[in-house]
Symmetry: C2
Subunit: 237 residues, 2 copies
């Protein structure tokens, strides 16, 4: 894969760039333990995340009008707190907890890898996270994006083809000059459908040490990388 084939790299964020599970577990513990709540915090993070795909599906099918991810997270959080028997949390603390998705910690290689890649490509998010969430997260974690592209700009959530096409249009690039980078094969398959290049990055710990993430078929994507430093090396940076 010659470096010059792609001009921009667009990244899935949750799980690919940042370790949402550990970050959310720590933030949930910080906020909820103030109220005397004791839970398995990793399971709390998993449960919250588990609502993500079904909530977006409701938007996709029209059961819900467009809601950005902050709004969907809040709906899920309200239900989750009830399910966990937590009733005594004040509104400012619920808001702080919902905002914890704006403060996710990158995987150890992510910032250094992105800085190298930035010298050779336009690097952008292409995430279902909303625009302000991704902007605040970049500021919090020093993610050196050239720009922020969100499903919110398309008004459609990935894997809708319009989300990927919007990214290419905004970058003023044909799809085959843009490479989608993700730890999730479904995201890459959808990007491939619109003609984008694809890079799979293996993130075996996204769902915790007890959840095996199988390595996909290496022939299926243009690049397979162990992490962002490996991705930079594969792309001849």
């Amino acid at each position: 894969m010659a470096r010059s084939n792609s001009e921009a790299l667009v990244f899935d964020v949750f799980g690919t760039v940042v370790d949402w599970r550990s970050s959310i577990a720590i933030e949930a513990q910080t906020v909820l333990s103030r109220h005397g709540v004791e839970l398995n915090w990793n399971e709390f993070a998993d449960s919250w995340r588990k609502g993500y795909a079904p909530a977006m599906d409701k938007v996709r099918t029209g059961e819900l009008p467009w809601h950005n991810l902050d709004d969907l997270h809040r709906m899920l959080l309200d239900d989750l707190l009830v399910d966990c028997g937590v009733h005594s949390i004040c509104e400012p603390d619920i808001r702080q907890l919902n905002q914890s998705w704006h403060r996710l910690t990158p995987w150890p290689d992510a910032v250094e890898g992105l800085q190298i890649l930035k010298n050779h490509f336009v690097i952008s998010t292409l995430s279902n996270g909303n625009f302000s969430m991704l902007t605040n997260m970049a500021k919090f974690s020093d993610l050196p994006w050239d720009c922020i592209i969100s499903a919110e700009l398309a008004g459609h959530y990935k894997p809708d083809h319009r989300t990927y096409q919007t990214a290419c249009n905004l970058l003023s690039l044909p799809a085959d000059k843009v490479m989608m980078v993700a730890a999730h094969t479904g995201d890459l398959e959808a990007a491939k459908q619109v003609g984008m290049k694809t890079a799979y990055v293996h993130r075996p710990l996204e769902f915790g040490p007890n959840c095996k993430v199988p390595m996909p078929d290496t022939k299926h994507f243009d690049v397979i990388a162990k992490n962002f430093l490996d991705l930079a090396s594969e792309l001849q940076c």
Copy 2:
């Protein structure tokens, strides 16, 4: 003006952050002199820029469907080359010249000032330039934006109120937490109309040394600054 009043600063770009006139004059000279063309290059830049507002007005009134600024620049350039009696330029050179709006040089204080401001606020473009133009320009000139917001994301050019409102919505902030920074009073007046804070930055050389830019009524805006370092100081950074 206490620093804490605003959470984000959004910047007009052409004239406020970058010196489009000198940059375009140099790029035009580089490209066109290869073809033996001799012109007053500053006047060439002025003439190109002069078409900008009328072209956007055609989009605003519906005479033209949505065209991004690269497209409008290209239409204007094609006409301008004819007006200047230049007929022999090849397509790649015309494209290179049109892309020169992606490579504008910042005013001497801009990068340092933005870096200081970035430590205290979310800093973004809010420009009529299209998304890829602003992204490429930031990369070219090391403008350390947290995100890129363009009229293209609103589908309406400034000073349409929807452009300003789109910026506030994307940042998930009420208008009074967002400050518009511009060297043009019309831009600031429009931002004020939707409830945004306003900072006027004086750029007396935007239209060249022979074109006086009067200082506006200092009571009319929240901050008046000589440059971005002065703006940072006024905002208690």
